[in-house]
Symmetry: C2
Subunit: 725 residues, 2 copies
């Protein structure tokens, strides 16, 4: 028995702070534990002793005669630490602290919580909370309701983690109405120890938990979450509602990637790469849970719709198509069979309209016929009440057929009175029922999404041969000069060191130098200024393209200098880069941004002047797998441009994918890189290669110095310790 | 009393086809009419006579002693026409035909329906149906339930029109659960006479109908619908669910505009320009109706959130922000007042978190304080059940405060058991209550949308001085040559005739001519081939840009000829257009497509190579008002480019707007134009003008010939009738 087992599957519970006073947590916890008929021993602990909920109360945990697996602590926060001492003395390792007044209240509370964590570690305890609603396990052998919600929990097979106690309680209240039940519930509160990842890992191999639901406001350890969730979600669906989207701390980023990134995009990428189904409302979270609770994962995305009324059939078709699923092509054999018993006015094409007069027998026969069709993966069955038919009888008939064909998902749409749904909530169902067609279509979409995730390859994290030392030395030079922002030239050189295809170029500080470099590259060329003070070059006319001759180059150079001079920007000018002019009008962008909580985010999408207007970009968290990189490329609208729309050369998708993976390797090697833009990554019209024409890299000085500074102990960027730095 | 009044507010009803046989429509209609206690006289008509529902049955309408306002007809379709004859003889003008078997069944039925319409016209009757569910008016002085739904209607102030009878019936069944009621309901069925527009106009000035809901699968007369709905929606909200989106008959269009258009985009544009709030699911249709039934239109979009629990407050904030509304800035005075009674742990910033311990008194005081704040336009009030508080008591307390402040919308979010909502359904409420925060936010968004529509200027339809004759003669020449597709040159000339800024150009059929034209325009120039057989020029290298000299022009010309020759496309070549080279890298698109049902759709958006990849375009139905045109320009993402992002010249918005309006005038004048593309409409970097650089116009030969052919009677394009053509 692990310590987590002691918390979630205890044989005995001490309630420290149990009370006889109504409407207090100490009283409610005791009531719930006893009402729900906990199968083990309950030991109320209260300094006054006496009797609570008919049980002898102990004045101290040490007085308790038997062994105690779990202590649920509801005493005032100032007594929590001493309670832990006593628990330790008693040998209790499982702790659930409901008491609030810790880090959620500010600085003092945070200090108290730090002391709490120290004690937990010292005592080798595991702990749920503090500042939480409690824990629940509905397994008949356990029956623990260690929560102070208004309602007793409903039995089911969902593992639920809530970061909001109140919300968890609210949900427990409405479970029955939703026809849903929990296996286990953990209100993680301040997550001093147990968090969402702990729960996911704990439930991974627990057969009683068949799907996991998360309500999260933050993700404590994104990398660990991704590692665990991406593995576990292949076995069981994980659904998450991640709140706090709008609070995204839009930091003032100077790069394109940075300005398009943000905490919610990071969370989104993380959940996507973890195979977690993200829902944006509680309503949808529960609807989807209801679907997973009653449906197998389908084999494909072909949907058949059976209805007794045209309008809802059309609405269901609309919704199925909008989710990108296919309307199943009913086989001729199935059509013949349907025609053999349906009236002439019925339609045997999908959506199958049995017309309003359809009796229960037609529902049964039609479902049985359609579910057996090999062209059909999933079914929506619609019922509108007509003269003489009882909704609940229709539902029962459908469930009877479904029980014989467990392999295909069926969802019922019953546009009928709420009494129907109330009646269902007391029944065992094998079909999820909804009021509206759109809800059913969304449910099938989620099943299909889970199917696609399961089928998706795990992916590899390739390691390329790169010139890491060269990249380090370029960055170091920038640091020595006190610059966090690398120049364009330095940035391009770092990319080049990592094997990223950059365009041929040279650096010039005079007109004559520029001409000589251009002559060696060959015309046409592009001229770009590089400056330590001006970051958006096009804003100041610092980019000149399609320069056809030495003569034109001289003219452009002179014009640039006089323009910068006029704007007072000449001082920052380092010189100009002369580049090969890569022909192509498809400009993509690759980049990296850093979220303070989530870390490196990779971006890919449509670049050039459109980048911030069209926002046709996608994000993934680094490190990227090859599958992630491939997904990124395919998920932007501009993918069609890459494929070679309207007679253009198809882009080299593998080479672009490799560019993303090499970038991922770069920021893994140099984790102090905070921002990176390749804009544009120009698609060569000649070869289809993605070529980095412009690059910007920014580092975090402090971290970069730590990583690249002398390791002899001095920490300086340049020292004479004998070549160690 | 109008004839429609005779149908919707009758004093006497004959039910022709009334029956005593259970589970027949003839029996159910009689039951509903009597059960719902119709206030006038009911005359069952059945050839057998006798008694039906305790009323004397007449063998024929002519036998009925008194006057009859409305005949509800449920006889077999083959007897419907003769029944109309008898009704006419009896002087009955109001008709509702429930009987099916008309045009919905195919050709024979359609013929029968045509005869039916003829009779209705001849007799001066108005008619609901055929193939419908019936009509309802819940006004206490009327109490007509002339429907065969399972349930009796609930009283309320919604006017509902349903094109699907079954759906209408389904809705009547669930109204009570939704806490909604109807004033009037019309199941329009096949719409032989009465349709959605009839209903909208009928309800425009009926105070008993305060909002209108439409379920539509098609719109019979889009222009008329737009005219009526855009006027009426300024007075009362009109909500529509338009089904059949996915069935969009994607016709094989050859133009960009055509390929991006489609029936559902037309429907969407039409509803938008009509001020109709489009919902995409029944669930949302009813949620929104519930909000309009219980909320005034707000004065602004600043939302305050009051909650007793953090999580749902965050979720509500997320949803409010995602709908583009503002989180209200609570005034300092309000904050002070809130602090005076809320506990220290409460947050008085928006969202206002009263914390879990909030008693009813805090709900009342907080709502009262916040509703009085001038910075607040709308309020979401969230309640999660905690120890000891009763949800229904909290709701009553909120409604009590709301009744004192009727001017601001308040929506309740009560995450509690379904019993709460069941209890509400028996009460008179002045606040809509939902289970989830997102539903409340969506409701406020709809209120705000209606506010914006009411505030939106009606707009003008300007008429410009154009050279209509010149345009006609150019098109005519194309017709004479048997071409539906105008050449690029012709297209540009037509646009020019309509005062649209096109770029300077000339047409050349030889190399020498090309050079001479280019010399007169001045370099750089663009050369574009024009061909009667090749429509997408860039696919065959038919566009050459930035030609700097006569020499370069000759080289490009020769290259084009040899390329076309190699591809076997030389035959179709008419020549080349030499154009001024307009400098600018912002390429927009304007266009017109034609939907067979909805007519001319105008398109505007991002053009160039991105058009079909990014699909950053918007549609409106022609004719455009100036406000429509302005909306179009502002509603695409590329608007930011037009504004002059990153140092580019701001576009001349007025001039672009005028371009759209002139196009609208062009297709109004020449309604046979089926497709039109201006791609690109290049934004000049110098002046910010939108300049039509390329144009394509296609007409419908038959209609064009009719419109432009000789009006002397011969109908020919060229005749010698004496100058009339």
């Amino acid at each position: 028995m692990t310590i987590l087992d002691k918390i979630m599957k205890p044989k005995s519970i001490a309630v420290v702070g149990a009370s006889t006073k109504d409407h207090t947590i100490g009283s409610d916890i005791m009531k719930r534990l006893t009402e729900y008929k906990f199968t083990g021993s309950i030991y109320p602990v209260n300094p006054k002793g006496g009797e609570i909920q008919g049980l002898k109360a102990y004045t101290n945990v040490l007085e308790i005669p038997g062994e105690v697996d779990l202590a649920i602590i509801v005493v005032n926060s100032k007594f929590v630490l001493s309670t832990l001492d006593q628990c330790n003395e008693k040998g209790i390792k499982g702790i659930c602290i409901i008491t609030a007044g810790f880090k959620e209240t500010g600085k003092e509370g945070a200090e108290l919580e730090a002391q709490l964590v120290e004690k937990l570690n010292a005592y080798g305890m595991r702990c749920v909370g503090p500042n939480c609603l409690g824990v629940v396990n509905t397994l008949p052998e356990i029956r623990m309701d260690g929560c102070f919600a208004e309602s007793l929990p409903e039995r089911g097979h969902i593992g639920f983690v809530s970061q909001s106690g109140a919300l968890g309680g609210g949900i427990l209240n409405i479970l029955k109405d939703l026809n849903l039940g929990f296996a286990q519930f953990i209100s993680i509160g301040n997550q001093a120890d147990v968090n969402a990842e702990t729960a996911l890992e704990y439930w991974e191999n627990d057969d009683d938990v068949q799907q996991m639901l998360l309500y999260m406001e933050s993700i404590q350890n994104p990398a660990n979450f991704r590692k665990l969730a991406s593995r576990i979600s292949k076995k069981k669906p994980i659904l998450a509602l991640k709140a706090g989207r709008s609070a995204a701390g839009a930091s003032a980023a100077s790069s394109h990637t940075g300005s398009l990134a943000g905490a919610d995009k990071a969370a989104n990428a993380l959940l996507m790469q973890s195979g977690v189904i993200r829902e944006y409302s509680l309503k949808n979270l529960f609807s989807t849970a209801k679907v997973f609770a009653n449906c197998p994962i389908p084999k494909g995305d072909r949907v058949a719709i059976i209805t007794n009324s045209g309008g809802p059939g059309i609405m269901a078709t609309d919704a199925v198509c909008e989710y990108g699923m296919q309307m199943a092509k009913i086989s001729d054999a199935t059509k013949d069979k349907l025609r053999s018993f349906l009236p002439a006015a019925a339609s045997v094409k999908n959506p199958i309209d049995m017309i309003a007069s359809a009796p229960i027998e037609h529902y049964k026969q039609t479902l049985e016929t359609v579910i057996a069709d090999e062209n059909v993966d999933m079914i929506i069955c619609i019922y509108l009440p007509f003269l003489g038919l009882k909704d609940i009888d229709v539902a029962k008939a459908l469930m009877e057929i479904k029980s014989q064909y467990p392999q295909k998902p069926v969802i019922g749409v019953f546009m009928t009175k709420s009494e129907f749904f109330t009646a269902l909530s007391d029944m065992d169902v094998n079909i999820p029922f909804f009021m509206y067609a759109e809800e059913a279509a969304e449910g099938l979409h989620r099943l299909n999404q889970q199917r696609l995730w399961i089928e998706r390859p795990v992916g590899n994290y390739p390691s390329y041969n790169v010139d890491k030392e060269k990249a380090a030395s370029i960055i170091k030079q920038s640091l020595v000069e006190g610059r966090e922002q690398l120049t364009t030239r330095e940035s391009i050189d770092v990319l080049d060191a990592y094997g990223i295809r950059v365009c041929k170029s040279g650096f010039a500080t005079t007109e004559d130098e520029a001409v000589s470099i251009a002559d060696s590259i060959g015309y046409p060329v592009v001229m770009k200024m590089t400056s330590k003070t001006t970051s958006h070059k096009t804003d100041v006319g610092g980019v000149r393209v399609n320069i056809q001759s030495a003569e034109q180059l001289r003219a452009e150079y002179q014009d640039l200098i006089s323009k910068l001079d006029a704007k007072g920007l000449l001082d920052g000018l380092e010189g100009v880069i002369i580049q090969e002019m890569v022909k192509g009008n498809r400009e993509m962008v690759c980049g990296v941004a850093t979220d303070p909580q989530y870390g490196h985010m990779m971006m890919f999408g449509l670049g050039g002047v459109f980048i911030e207007v069209m926002k046709d970009v996608t994000f993934r968290m680094a490190p990227l797998s090859d599958v992630d990189a491939s997904d990124m490329i395919k998920s932007v609208k501009a993918y069609k441009l890459l494929e070679g729309a309207r007679g253009t050369t198809p882009a080299q998708m593998d080479q672009i994918q490799e560019t993303l993976l090499r970038l991922s390797q770069l920021v893994s090697d140099f984790s102090f890189i905070t921002e990176l833009d390749i804009n544009p990554l120009l698609i060569s019209e000649k070869t289809g290669e993605g070529i980095a024409v412009d690059g910007r890299i920014k580092v975090k000085m402090e971290d970069a110095k730590k990583a690249l500074g002398c390791q002899c102990g001095c920490g300086e960027l340049t020292c004479s310790c004998g070549g160690h730095c």
